[in-house]
């Protein structure tokens, strides 16, 4: 009975969504083009940033990104408090296994390369696809590789929180400096340089590097917390 009601409801929803979106059409310029043209023109003329998605995320909606990073931080905190353990239970890994020597040697070789790729992605966030979020996630994937291959590989919680706090301070500090120099929060106050150079775009690379470190620390914390959770056996 419940299934029938749900299927009828979903059919009605699907019919509504289908008629709406098939009328819009795929690949047609159906949005108000003023917004898009403004962003593209402003990005290449005034900010001198190549990647328009980066300039929208960090500059035009920089305050939104600050909120997003804060939401991630809250998620890590909630995870830690939900999976709270008493003192004598700490230290045991739930996922215990012995990896073969091929896996351990391979991941030890691969780990620096993965970290380097992540750093490259977030340093070049204003020039090529990628940015702080992508680079941070790639770095967290590198730590995941090590945590899965070595049973007693551990990440220091103290260093994670230090890196995360410093990156957050840099983000908010750059925003406040913009407030002092330009009048609005996260206003650009550095010279923007030449398009398609590494040192261009004003404060955008600085903010994206801070976001990269912050996201990497937060996601590594998530993986570490969940991996050290001991279920009821």
């Amino acid at each position: 009975m419940k299934k029938v009601i749900v299927i009828l409801l979903l059919a009605a929803l699907g019919f509504y969504l289908g008629t709406t979106f098939f009328n819009i059409g795929f690949g047609d310029p159906h949005f108000a083009n003023g917004v898009k043209d403004f962003y593209l023109k402003e990005t290449v003329d005034n900010l001198h940033v190549s990647n328009t998605v980066t300039s929208i995320v960090v500059n035009f909606r920089g305050f939104d990104t600050l909120g997003e990073v804060t939401v991630l931080f809250l998620a890590v905190t909630a995870l830690g408090s939900i999976l709270y353990k008493r003192r004598h239970e700490v230290g045991t890994r739930s996922v215990l296994f012995s990896s073969s020597s091929v896996v351990t040697a391979g991941s030890k070789l691969l780990f620096p390369a993965v970290i380097l790729l992540g750093v490259y992605v977030f340093v070049h966030g204003h020039l090529s696809p990628g940015g702080g979020f992508q680079g941070g996630v790639i770095i967290a994937t590198g730590f995941l590789l090590m945590l899965l291959s070595y049973e007693n590989y551990s990440v220091s919680h103290k260093w994670l929180s230090i890196v995360e706090s410093l990156a957050g301070i840099v983000f908010a500090g750059v925003g406040l400096l913009g407030f002092i120099n330009g009048g609005t929060f996260l206003q650009n106050f550095l010279p923007t340089g030449v398009l398609n150079n590494l040192f261009s775009g004003g404060v955008i690379p600085i903010i994206y590097i801070a976001v990269g470190f912050k996201v990497a620390a937060e996601l590594t914390g998530v993986i570490y917390t969940v991996l050290h959770e001991k279920g009821v056996k």
Binding site: L13, G18, F22, F26, F31, T52, V53
Partner: protein
């Protein structure tokens, strides 16, 4: 590309996105296992992201990056960057939501010893 094939693609991309969204919603509404509910929400999120990015696509457009090749080339059409920035945010936040939901699942399992919604509902706290 043929315009009739492109027309078919129009229905295909939107139809797939909506279908995947509805499949995920069905799983989240009907299934009894809490883990299955979280999987359903994750599937639904994938369909929604595809829908939003497909809205910003422009026929013959390139990625919104002012590279050397774009500046010197003849093609001056770019796809809409605004939905892409939106989806970039949505994916990262979606991961945080999934992680918190799964930690709640682990906690409930520790407390009740089961993941079936009916059994959890019948227990007295």
């Amino acid at each position: 590309m043929d315009s009739s094939l492109f027309q078919l693609l129009n229905y295909g991309v939107y139809g797939t996105a909506i279908l995947v969204m509805l499949i995920g919603l069905y799983g989240a509404l009907v299934k009894k296992s809490l883990l299955k509910v979280v999987i359903g929400l994750s599937v639904m999120e994938s369909g929604l992201n595809l829908l939003i990015v497909a809205l910003g696509y422009l026929k013959g457009g390139t990625a919104p990056i002012f590279s050397e090749g774009f500046l010197n080339g003849s093609n001056k059409i770019m796809v809409d960057p605004v939905p892409q920035a939106l989806v970039l945010t949505a994916i990262v936040i979606g991961f945080g939501v999934t992680a918190v939901a799964l930690s709640l699942v682990i906690r409930l399992y520790r407390h009740h010893g089961t993941l079936n919604i009916d059994e959890i509902r019948n227990l007295k706290w």
